[in-house]
Structures are given as C-alpha cells and as structure tokens.
C-alpha cells in the first residue's frame, strides 16, 4: 500500500495531545494502522509531550511526596501481578480481519456484510454511531466512476479511503490515503473507474442533500 496523503501536523498534534474527539480519532487512528511513517510521527509527538512533562515544576514539598509514594507503593505491592502484555486481539471469526482497528470494532463485520443504506444513484452509506452528536461518521460506498452524491461543506471533513480510490481535482486518493478538507476547500471527489470506492467520511458540517424532501426527512431517517 503506497500512501501519499497523510495526517497533517495540526491534526496529529490534537490526536497526540488527547484533544481530538472520538469521531475524528477513528479516521486518524485507522490511518495510523495503515501507515507506519505516521505512527513514527505520532511517537515523536508523544515524546515531545514527555519533554514538556520533564520541564514541569514538581512544586509539592517532600513530605507529601513521601505520603504519595507510600500510597502508590502499597497499591502496586498489593495488586495482583498480571503479565503486562498488550491484550491480544481476540480471535475473531473473522470476516472482519481485513478491516483495521479501531474501525473494525465499530463495524464488527467486513464491509461486504454491512447493512448499507441507499443514498440514490447507486451510492450507499453506513452511519457509525459515536459519542459525538454533532459530528457525522459514516462509511460511503461510491460506484466506480461516480461522484460522491452529497457531502458536507462548510466545516472540517476527513475522508479515509479503505478500498478502491477516488480523484479530487488532480489528486488521486488510494487505500490508506486521508483527505483533510476544511471550509476553504471546494472539492468534488469522484470514484475511479476500476472499482467501487469505500471510504470513511467524518464531518462536522451539516450534510446537504439534493432533495428537499430528503432533507426534511433527514432527522427521521437518521442520516
């Protein structure tokens, strides 16, 4: 997989510092799963976080330090010793094995087994529930050669390609590529001719629908 569109420094910094909301983080972390260079950049940013910790003034006096130490010492000595290994991913059955974490936990099954909902013109989507009510998180499945039927404008939008590819102007986005758009970017992604394009799309701008009826029904349909 050759990835040519990466997480920007500003976005990765928000993820490294822990301030990025859940929805955006699904896109960023799934890109990280597919992109070793960005994992290394993340690790470097976390080291910078560590360097800021080093620079902090310890402030508290030594007496309270001793009390803290005794409390922690007693906690660790009384805790049962569990092997400190990363929890192994449980063996899954495993139709979803090709979907990288953390996205896989949100889907449960492979892309082909999802209950896709039609958007019209051959396109489908699959909404992903998250804790962020004001951010839309969903998979899009765009037929080969067709444009994304509707998408948000006016806010931030992250699009991570999972299968197939799309063009946006002169740029080609293939599997693993992350497109980061803000309100200033006019864009119109179009799936390439070879195969349907599946991507994860996260946006905080209200989705604009072509049909007024659909937009009236939007709250009812939950899309």
């Amino acid at each position: 997989m050759t990835i040519s569109h990466h997480v920007s420094d500003a976005l990765l910094l928000d993820y490294a510092s822990g301030t990025l909301e859940e929805s955006w983080s699904i896109a960023v972390a799934t890109h990280l799963a597919l992109c070793p260079p960005c994992r290394q950049r993340l690790s470097a940013m976390e080291d910078i976080g560590g360097a800021f910790i080093d620079r902090l003034d310890p402030e508290a006096g030594s007496e309270s330090e001793d009390a803290s130490w005794l409390a922690v010492r007693s906690a660790v000595l009384s805790a049962p010793e569990a092997p400190a290994t990363t929890p192994k991913s449980p063996a899954r059955d495993d139709s979803a094995a090709t979907v990288p974490e953390p996205l896989r936990s949100y889907l449960g099954v492979d892309y082909d087994k999802l209950k896709w909902r039609p958007l019209g013109l051959g396109a489908y989507h699959y909404p992903i529930p998250t804790g962020d009510k004001s951010i839309s998180t969903r998979l899009l499945r765009i037929p080969a050669g067709k444009p994304v039927p509707e998408h948000g404008h006016g806010g931030r939008e992250l699009t991570l390609v999972l299968r197939g590819s799309f063009r946006d102007g002169d740029d080609l986005f293939g599997a693993g590529d992350l497109e980061e758009a803000d309100e200033h970017l006019e864009h119109q992604p179009i799936a390439t001719e070879e195969e349907d394009c599946i991507c994860l799309a996260v946006t905080d701008s209200p989705l604009k629908f072509r049909s007024r009826i659909v937009s009236l029904l939007q709250p009812l349909l939950g899309i």
Binding site: S8, A33, A51, E65, A84, A97, P102
Partner: protein, 218 residues
C-alpha cells in the same frame, strides 16, 4: 550508577510487604530535579521495574515523574485531591505496564506522557480515544529498524530537549497549550485571537524545525 541505586535501596528490598507496617526511613537519594531531560538512569530504572519488578527502581521513577504528572493533572483537574488521585492512578499503571515500554520506540517520558494523557481523557474528558491495535493482523507492519538507528532513537530525549529550546517562543507556546491545557488547535486559535491558518502554519513550522534540528545532529 546502577550500582549506586542497588546500594542506596538495598534496605528496601528486605521491607516486609506489609505496607505502612513500620515507619520508613527515606533513602538518602534526593529527588531528581533536572529540568533537562530524562536521564538514562530513569530508563534503566524503568527497565528494572519491567524485568525484575524492582520496587526500589520504581521509587526512583516515581520520585521523578510522580510530582510532574501531578502538575500535569493540575492543569485540568478540579482540585489538588483529584490531581493527586489521577497521578497515583497513572503511576500505578506505569508499574503494571512497565514491560510495554520499548526504548527503541520512544523516550521514557513520552511513554509516561501517553499513560497520563489516557488517564486524563478517561477522568476529565470522559470520551473515547480510538487507537490502533499494535497486534492487529490488518496493521501495516513497520519496516525493521536497523540497530544503528535504534541506538540513535535511544538518545533522542536529550537531543529533543535541546531542539525544543531552540524553537521560537510562539511555536513552543502552541505546543505547550496543546499538551497541557488540553485544547485542540482550533480552540487555541480562538484563545490567542489568531486566525486558524496561522496556528496551523506555526504548528507545521514547529515540527519542521524540530525535524531539521534533530536531523542535523544525527
């Protein structure tokens, strides 16, 4: 230095594991108070915690990081008591997960920062932070790091600190706001009354400069 630690702490190893059962004399080892970087000794101590479950080595780690992690928590915690609680939770996790620290992947401080950050997210922000799974079969594996490169990464902490001191103050301020005040770059722009584009480009410049500086010294 490893020998010094062993001597300074030899008394503790015979302490019966009944916490608080006797009045403890603190060791002569003064709390490390280095503003500059961690300290290969601390990485050695962390390794001893991981491999030997060495309580004395853990005390050394605690004496350096505990107060700093508490100060980190103070930036967002409601009060001192909460900051203390989150610090203790963080340091207890450091003990439990010490075997997961990999000096080839980053610094001890960076690793402890990630634990503190996650404890803070759980307690203060109460949101989920989706992460990739290092054991995921669908993960694209990283190319093997050559032994020479691994050695250089190992020395990163000191060079990183040196590189950070060379950053222009406004760039350092942005990074600090991000890591300590727990606000995303969009809100930093509002806080500093700067256009979002300016904040983004300062962040980009800061990392470009850090990469340059670190690259030059290799």
């Amino acid at each position: 230095m490893g020998v010094d630690i062993a001597i300074a702490y030899v008394d503790h190893k015979s302490v019966p594991s009944k916490p608080g059962a006797r009045t403890r004399t603190m060791t002569s080892e003064p709390p490390t108070n280095r503003a500059q970087g961690p300290d290969l000794d601390l990485e050695t101590a962390l390794a001893a915690v991981a491999t030997k479950r060495d309580v004395a080595a853990f005390e050394k780690v605690f004496r350096f990081y505990g107060p700093r992690v508490r100060a980190f928590m103070m930036k967002r915690a409601a009060d001192h008591a909460e900051a203390e609680e989150l610090m203790q939770e963080t340091m207890t996790k450091v003990w439990k997960q010490a075997a997961l620290f990999d000096p080839e992947k980053g610094t001890a401080s960076g690793w402890i920062f990630t634990i503190a950050r996650n404890v803070r997210i759980d307690a203060v922000r109460k949101t989920r932070r989706p992460e990739y799974d290092p054991n995921d079969p669908a993960l694209s594996p990283a190319p093997e790091i050559a032994a020479d490169d691994a050695l250089e990464l190992n020395q990163n902490a000191e060079r990183l600190n040196a590189a950070m001191t060379k950053l222009p103050p406004e760039q350092l301020e942005l990074l600090q706001l991000s890591f300590f005040e727990d606000i995303p770059h969009g809100q930093i722009a509002e806080r500093l009354s700067l256009p979002l584009g300016t904040v983004k480009s300062r962040i980009r410049l800061a990392f470009a400069k850090l990469r340059d500086t670190l690259g030059d010294e290799q």
